[in-house]
Symmetry: C2
Subunit: 108 residues, 2 copies
DNA sequence: CAGAATCCCAAGTGATACTG
DNA sequence: CAGTATCACTTGGGATTCTG
């Protein structure tokens, strides 16, 4: 069982901390959730959908998500430029887990 | 599916945000993890196990976890006083989910 | 259009000392 | 022993403006 690390502390090597680093923060899960539900989305559309995100935060979150392999960025060389974001396959496998987590939190 | 909220944004009512409020933060998952693995644990023992927590943070986290029904506090009227923390039954059901989440993050 | 740069604020975290 | 109080600090998040 992955949660078990002898006597704890899991500390730095804890898979859960790693997970939190990937999808923690105020907006990352919403971003993934939106991309999952709505499919590939342009930057400004995403910004409108996630009502209240600032550019700073959204851009940073997207870059981190991309670096971590959760999101793919595709740039279409049109004028004006068009950029779409979508979730990756490994990220797809995260969705059902998040789903369980959400259900659990609501039943609590 | 709980993750689906029409077009998103899940925003405030998002079950995932609720979950994050419960178990987010730097130490809460470690606390739950430790209590799960080691069983009922006294305050100072917990503090030693989670190497690096300050009193401020640990005490606050434990109080919140207790308010949210994830942790039970039991006070034994001995001299000196003894206080033990343990995870609750609803919290037990969270463990396998965290386990999946941890596994996912490591396989990524 | 898609972001980067800048600046600011609030919240979270932490170290230390102290007390019922 | 199990915390609380106080204060300092770091980080994340946000508003706004600007540019390739």
């Amino acid at each position: 069982m992955a949660v078990n690390h002898d006597n704890c502390p899991c500390m730095d090597s804890c898979p859960l901390n790693h997970a939190l680093a990937l999808i923690g923060g105020k907006w990352k899960m919403q971003i993934l959730c939106s991309l999952y539900n709505n499919g590939p989305t342009r930057y400004n559309q995403l910004k409108k959908t996630l009502d209240g995100v600032s550019n700073t935060v959204l851009a940073n979150a997207l870059r981190e998500l991309e670096e971590d392999g959760l999101v793919e960025r595709q740039e279409y060389l049109e004028v004006p430029v068009r950029v779409e974001y979508r979730i990756t396959e490994p990220c797809q496998r995260l969705i059902p887990i998040l789903d369980e987590l959400g259900n659990w939190s609501m039943e609590l």
